[in-house]
Amino acid sequence: MTTVAVKPATMAQALQRAMRDAMAADPTVHVMGEDVGTLGGVFRVTDGLAEEFGEDRCTDTPLAEAGILGAAVGMAMYGLRPVVEMQFDAFAYPAFEQLVSHVSRMRNRTRGALPMPIVVRVPYGGGIGGVEHHSDSSEAYYMATPGLHVVTPSTVADAYGLLRAAIASDDPVVFLEPKRLYWSKAEWSPDAPAAVEPIGRAVVRRRGTSATLLTYGPSVSVCLEAAEAAREEGWDLEVVDLRSLVPFDDETVCASVRRTGRAVVVHESAGFGGPGGEIAARVTERCFHHLEAPVLRVAGFDIPYPPPMLERHHLPGVDRVLDAVARLQWEATS
């Protein structure tokens, strides 16, 4: 194998490269959405695709999310693999009916005759100072819809690998892009081995022995920072990046929790009815006898996403994670 140049790249560039490579490898891959063509997307994630592959392969559509996703369903029925961009998390809501009533269940309705190899790219989450309707974390809605895969990268390499896997998948994938990580950089080569990451596997980002932080997307870096800070308190924290919310990697998660005996789930979206409740329940059901304390959740407050000047109070930060870790010194009598 030849040596490949490894240089700093942003997550946005890795995502763009993933689409470019997929489009070059497979003429049925089509990118579509509002502003994805000439402008290259408001986050420049589709930059250059229209120029390289033409407007028929990277299409600026009318501004209508249900129409975009609905048209993608018909295109998939004719054998294409549409990659749809929903410009911001909250802009995807008009497309919910198409996603829930058709995209997620078309394979099932037709007993496999009409698979839906569609990727719905949703830039999600806060921390970029976006105004109202630009910072939602809506993964719980997608997770609650059978028939969809739901994945989210936290690293530049995973952004590439998971998006390639999502485009190659014969099932619909909601691909959640943590928008505050778009400009995060890493030494990265798309030609490195294991560039395409199979959907459904969590990864241990940091080994530890005293407790497990279960997290994904934008909260992974928060948890890694918290783990470093916790060393001073004598805690050696393990950090598991879930990467895929559906399917869920019970195996990796439970192996970690059984090792450490304690777990905290960390995410930005609202806690009540959120992903953390599902994850905590799964861990409790499977690892009860290994647990030294209840599985705790650190989540966004149960409020509509706040205005940008207040979002730092809402988003789970290092201190809130450390507070939860301290509460893991739980005693049954307390």
Partner: protein, 372 residues
């Protein structure tokens, strides 16, 4: 009004309409053929085909409605009175074209050649879609209103990109035209110049809500002009007119002319479904008036008046329809064989670990049941 230009300011840029709306506007009266001189230009063979299709279709509607009373169908939204729309929609398509039916359009699928039992699978309740949509080029019957219209646009667009001269015909009711997906589909189709024909069956009521409470538009066909596509208004009970207008629209789409919106003015003779009581929202006199304008009677009157239909021919059509109905009755009386393990096989291309666990749970439950 006097506009005072500021010194040095540039003039307001000239603006003009992008398209002359006049050619897009529908005629104010629904287009009719039967009973007019225009009908003489139509070949006898086509008229007889339409006649056979209507007789067959009516018998199908009556039989399916009867099957709901026997508990063999969970529900049946009848298209009795609308057979001309259903049959014409099926007949104007080539094999390579696609049909996108709504929940009321089982008959269009059957008229396209689909096995009636397969077409009724959804309404019977044994699976959601009983046929292979790709094999028959008939999309699954869509229950969420108008949501299948953007699918038709996407498919037609993809076909055109592939260089295939495929047309998609998408069906929707008058109520469905109020949905956002109707708007988005028509807009996409016009912007992309996709080879799609939108057929609105205006049957008077969206369950109980009459058209006047559904829209303030002059007609549903008038909506087309707002998207930049032609609108056609047609008598939906006149099978020959339906065939002609839809054929024109399909030809136009196939040759690169873009989409057309066709509004068929018709009437739903039965209730919305067997679960609905239509006497609560419409008068008997109205129903009777439409009965006089029945699609089968219109063709019969025309053919008989010109000596093109004799007793032997009507008898043959009736017998063929009875044979279909008897066969349908018999096959629908057999209990379908279902495998509960199928619940898990087609959720994903391969089951997730979570679904594998759940399928094992069900398997254990089934084995326990068998062991009792």
């Amino acid at each position: 009004m006097t506009v005072q230009e500021l010194p040095g300011a540039t003039a307001y840029p000239a603006w003009k309409l992008r398209t002359d709306p006049a050619p897009l506007l529908p005629d104010p009266e629904p287009y009719r053929v039967l009973g007019t001189d225009a009908a003489d230009a139509i070949g006898q063979e086509l008229l007889l085909r339409l006649y056979d299709g209507l007789v067959h279709g009516r018998r199908f509607n009556v039989q399916a409605t009867a099957l709901t009373k026997q508990g063999r169908l969970a529900v049946y939204p009848s298209s009795t009175g609308q057979e001309a729309c259903e049959v014409a929609a099926a007949l104007v398509l080539e094999d390579r074209d696609w049909l996108f039916p709504s929940y009321r359009d089982t008959l269009a699928a059957v008229a396209r050649g689909l096995d009636p039992v397969e077409a009724l699978t959804l309404l019977r309740g044994d699976w959601h879609t009983g046929y292979d949509p790709r094999e028959h080029r008939i999309a699954p019957l869509s229950t969420p209103l108008a949501t299948q219209l953007p699918h038709a646009v996407g498919l037609a667009h993809a076909a055109r990109l592939a260089g295939d001269d495929v047309v998609a015909l998408a069906m929707v009711g008058d109520g469905g035209t109020s949905e956002g997906d109707f708007h988005e589909a028509l807009n996409f189709a016009a912007v992309w110049q996709a080879p799609v024909v939108f057929l609105v069956q205006n049957n008077g009521f969206a369950i109980s809500v009459p058209l006047a409470k559904q829209t303030a538009a002059p007609s549903l066909a008038h909506k087309a002009v707002g998207y930049g596509m032609p609108g056609r208004l047609v008598d939906g009970n006149d099978a020959a007119a339906m065939h002609e207008v839809l054929s024109d629209a399909v030809r136009r789409a196939r040759t690169g002319g873009g989409p057309t919106l066709v509004e068929a003015v018709t009437y739903r003779m039965d209730a919305h479904t067997n679960a609905d009581d239509a006497t609560r929202y419409r008068a008997d006199a109205e129903v009777e008036a439409w009965r006089a304008h029945d699609p089968i009677r219109l063709v019969e009157r025309h053919l008989t008046g010109r000596g093109l239909l004799d007793e032997g021919r009507t008898e043959a059509a009736r017998e063929a329809a009875e044979t279909m109905a008897a066969d349908l009755r018999e096959r629908m009386n057999a209990d379908p064989l279902l495998d509960p393990m199928d619940l898990f096989t087609q959720v994903y291309a391969s089951p997730t670990p979570q679904l594998r666990e759940e399928s094992e749970q069900l398997r254990a439950e089934l084995e326990a049941e068998d062991g009792r």
